[in-house]
């Protein structure tokens, strides 16, 4: 653990880390872009989840929603990733010790595994590929898990400065 903290201190002390942390425009701007990327990627994912669960867009084939929103969701995730790395760079030593930061990454891992299982297993079922209004129970659960776990990612992310 002390090695990780030391490494984080090194990252934060690099010239890029210091420049980002000390710039009065860069840091808030990157924070803002991180938030907007989140609204696009995780936000659209929430809408897809609500379709899978059976709350919204029941008249829209799930497969259309999945296929057509995918590039935009992935683009949003690319934005979150890049801005997230930059934010981490500028405050690595501060956030690494926050339990909320650790929790956030555990939830991201769970959400990622859920997404992979859905993508490579559940989404291959005929009910998903064909146009069914109500989807199989396992698909509905995957949607619900995604909704809950991504919400936990956002909540723990927002709590990072509050739980040092």
């Amino acid at each position: 653990m002390s090695y990780i903290v030391e490494l984080a201190e090194h990252i934060q002390a690099t010239s890029l880390g210091v420049a980002l942390a000390e710039s009065s425009y860069a840091f808030p701007l990157i924070e803002g872009i991180h938030l907007i990327g989140l609204s696009v990627a995780v936000g659209l994912l929430f809408l897809i989840d609500l379709r899978l669960v059976g709350v919204l867009f029941k008249n829209v084939p799930a497969i259309d929603l999945l296929r057509q929103l995918r590039p935009i969701v992935l683009g949003g995730f690319a934005v979150i990733f890049v801005t997230g790395v930059l934010l981490f760079w500028s405050e690595a030593a501060t956030v690494i010790v926050s339990p909320a930061f650790v929790a956030k990454f555990i939830f991201i891992a769970i959400a990622g595994l859920n997404a992979l299982y859905f993508e490579f297993k559940l989404a291959k079922q005929p009910e998903v590929l064909e146009n069914h209004e109500v989807l199989p129970t396992n698909v509905r659960y995957a949607g619900l898990i995604s909704l809950v776990v991504w919400s936990l990612v956002i909540i723990s992310g927002r709590l990072i400065p509050y739980l040092p």
């Binding site: 808030p28 995780v42 659209l44 919204l56 867009f57 929103l69 935009i72 709590l159």
Partner: protein
């Protein structure tokens, strides 16, 4: 100016404001969580409707139907963000009121809500809205709602 400051100071000295300010810092954090989750739900629905309006996704689905369905996310998200936002504001009104990012955010928010009730509602109620008007609505909607997010996120840093 001094009278505004007096009103803000009075607000800051109310029992509710004291209760929020003196509460455990996790009460403030909870308000932040509702603020951000509400905003994300709102923005997700707005982005989705804009994507359909632009013809990027679900071109074979009806615009009015797709715009109506996530309405609860827009207004529910807005209520969650506004109520939690008011609680945050009450706890330190003199701090927020003169913050340039906060002032910008409120004006942009007012413009965004106005757009939502006027041109945007008109455009999304039509099966085939005029492409020019649709384009204007999309640009204004994205600029204003993203603007609310960017200026809002900057409040703590200016």
């Amino acid at each position: 100016m001094s009278s505004t400051f007096e009103i803000l100071t009075t607000l800051q000295n109310t029992a509710l404001a004291h209760a929020i300010a003196k509460s455990d810092h996790l009460v403030g954090a909870t308000a932040q969580v509702f603020h951000i989750l509400g905003f994300i739900f709102l923005l997700a629905a707005v982005v989705f409707i804009n994507l359909r309006l632009a013809g990027v996704v679900l071109g074979n689905q009806s615009i009015p139907s797709l715009s109506r369905q996530p309405k609860l996310l827009i207004w529910g998200g807005l209520v969650s963000a506004v109520v939690s936002g008011i609680l945050m504001f009450i706890s330190a009104p003199t701090l927020y009121f003169y913050n340039p990012a906060f002032i910008a955010k409120i004006w942009i928010l007012v413009a965004a809500i106005f757009l939502q009730f006027t041109i945007y509602r008109h455009v999304t109620n039509q099966e085939k809205p005029s492409p020019a008007l649709a384009k204007v609505s999309i640009v204004l909607s994205v600029v204003l709602w993203f603007g609310v997010g960017l200026t809002g996120r900057a409040i703590g840093f200016v």
